[in-house]
Point group: C2
Chain length 424, copies 2
């Protein structure tokens, strides 16, 4: 199986924190635990009841409860509510008939990638570094990936060049996987003009953009930029949404929003949708109605938008980010010529640039002797370009632990830099 | 995509009942709705709380509730409880470390088939007819399938012959997909001696048996036969379990139980398990902890076995089956030389043999004009051998409707036989 890199990431994420229980983890890209009290068993029950009542009222159905426990529609049950939420909160022109409910966004990738790249010569373009679950899903389906430098600068030219290079090899660029907002793992955001240009170049090249947007609603300051799917005249964007960050990862509920027009052709989405539904019936039959009902009930309670629902979380994430940025500034004050980082206006991550290589082994050493776990950026990369970078996650760590974690990381870096100086 | 047959089945199952709401459906292979009151939102909540308390007690964990809402272990969280249930109720030598929790049994197939058949020349042997989700999963992964006549008679010889034929073509038989108990779609059960011989021939040929056992606990009379995994000395059986029939389909919780010894080699299962976990991380990240907690809570409440839990369901299914068998005997009394059926000692289905072809179009005609929906066996077949057969499901239909449904089916059959007589 060709997904070693992805499996290393998963293994590292899952096991290193268990292996070093005393260390502070800045590795996991998970949402905070602090709001779990809003979703105890009682609240889960309330949401299910609310959705059951809605179902009964809307469709005049007997046995709504039985329906929630049975096999269900492969395409999903809460498509109308999810389309409304995506339209309201992300300004994407979503509608129920073009929405497919998935078992988390990972299933969306496992469905879309092989559907878009059925032939051996089909290639998916990916940023480098990028979310390892996307490259892993491609590789598990034996789909070739082609890396594009993951920087906002020149991204359009880089996509265009990649398309040319891929064609020159006798292959076909079919899709571009992209996290435009607060990218995982880099925190990078694409400006509106860049997005417009990406749409143009992808439309010209008939490359479908798979827009993954888990962090778009997690903006702590600055002006929001529209998702590509909301500014897509020719129809080349498939928008992926998830409730893992807004409500809870354990729900495993996400969605695929297809464009009404696909490369200028209306109703073309129907063929693709049928193929995705066929594939889904063979992966998961349908997404759990119990979990769909929880999402549906919360969406009903919140009047169709999750803006209010996440606002207490936003404050916590912003505080964590600010705390981390302040501590970085203090801890690395003397080495600002050698160590740098970005300050994303949202999301869960930032990227730290170091003057030395940082591998899994280094991460283990750092966890063992300095008590802090961070993610080598290398784990998200398709080449060696990311060896001196680290992903720092500020989303799930307790804020009071951030100062200690960053100071420990700085001590580790000082040791490494001293080691380098001695060696040279 | 090479899964047209499966998609036809899914489409037919999902849509025909909606299209003919007035018709009685003997088509759906779903469990009864009658017991939904035992699993209302309150009971789901109770189960989650119970499991949360168990988690807290067992592992002395803070924040069990947060844990139930987060990302979780890819291999699952309730592996110990599921292994105990499978051991108690199915007598399979399951243990936690060889158990992988899946998002329903369909995901188990989507994981196991490509892991067992990684190379182009690898072939999975399947009964013909068989569950379309298995052949569909194989075909979606571009794995060749080879049909074996789905009759208990000569099954061992047929498997042996299939292995020889596959090798002769330059291919490799790597797996055998099998539902030994109350097979879907035929209701067929394999005797203990047949199972022992299958194990022997599969072990000799290094063919892994994928034993799918959704109906094994639904025996209404007669002596239970051990699952193949419980009588597997050399270790060639991967046992698939599901809670869709015992608790609720909407949970989407199933399990893969690996053998301790794989073709005589101890610990060989670990390599396969790692591969399955890698693949799962790329399909669904992890199975919803909310749903795992519901299953876990019910298993705890029931003391580790689901025998008592399903016993009221068993009585209802048996009554339905008896009612259907009685009505068939009455309705087809005059044509017993031309129409026959089996009387399985358990499960959800029986197979009806007709003297005329029964296609999807015929099923539509029967639904439209005779008010009864049944499944053409052809939809589960890999060739034309099943054209004169029908699958009748007695699991989810209301018992009071069975007499009308069977009489209507008999009227339809009489019309068809008259039509044949006129034509000849």
């Amino acid at each position: 199986m060709q997904c070693d890199s992805q499996s290393k990431v998963m293994k590292f994420l899952n096991e290193v924190a268990e292996e070093f229980p005393a260390a502070i983890s800045l590795a996991a890209g998970r949402p905070t635990d602090r709001y779990a009290e809003r979703l105890g068993p009682l609240q889960l029950q309330e949401a299910q009841i609310r959705y059951g009542e809605y179902l009964t009222l809307q469709k005049d159905l007997d046995g709504a409860q039985a329906r929630l426990l049975q096999y269900g529609r492969t395409a999903g049950m809460i498509n109308d509510l999810v389309a409304r939420q995506v339209k309201t909160d992300e300004r994407v022109n979503a509608c129920s008939s073009r929405t497919l409910i998935t078992s988390g966004c990972q299933e969306a990738l496992a469905l879309c990638l092989p559907a878009l790249c059925p032939d051996q010569e089909d290639v998916v373009l990916v940023c480098n570094p990028t979310y390892a679950g996307a490259t892993g899903a491609a590789q598990a389906n034996r789909i070739a990936v082609y890396p594009i430098p993951n920087t906002a600068a020149n991204i359009v030219e880089n996509i265009e060049q990649a398309a040319i290079q891929v064609r020159r090899r006798g292959q076909r660029p079919r899709a571009l996987y992209l996290i435009p907002d607060f990218d995982n793992p880099t925190g990078r955001v694409l400006e509106e003009s860049e997005r417009a240009n990406i749409l143009e170049v992808c439309s010209q090249n008939r490359v479908v953009v798979l827009e993954d947007n888990p962090y778009g609603m997690f903006r702590y300051e600055g002006k929001p930029v529209l998702p590509l799917a909301a500014m897509d005249p020719s129809g080349c964007v498939i928008h992926l949404s998830t409730f893992s960050k807004t409500i809870a990862p354990a729900l495993r509920v996400g969605a695929i929003i297809l464009p009404e027009v696909l490369f200028g052709q209306t109703k073309e989405h129907q063929k693709l949708q049928q193929e995705l539904i066929q594939r889904k019936s063979l992966l998961s039959v349908n997404t759990s109605q119990i979990n769909q009902a929880i999402v549906g009930g919360i969406l009903l309670k919140q009047g169709g938008s999750l803006q209010q629902w996440i606002s207490p979380l936003l404050a916590g994430y912003r505080d964590n980010r600010d705390c981390m940025l302040g501590e970085l500034q203090t801890a690395f004050a003397d080495v600002l010529d050698q160590i740098s980082w970005n300050a994303p206006e949202g999301g869960f991550f930032l990227a730290l640039n170091l003057p030395f290589a940082f591998t899994i082994q280094d991460a283990m050493e750092c966890a063992t002797h300095y008590g802090v776990i961070v993610m080598p950026m290398n784990l998200f990369a398709l080449d060696s370009s990311q060896e001196q970078r680290v992903r720092l996650s500020f989303s799930s760590v307790d804020r009071t632990q951030i100062p200690v974690a960053i100071r420990s990381l700085a001590q580790y870096a000082a040791m490494r830099m001293e080691r380098c100086a001695l060696a040279s």
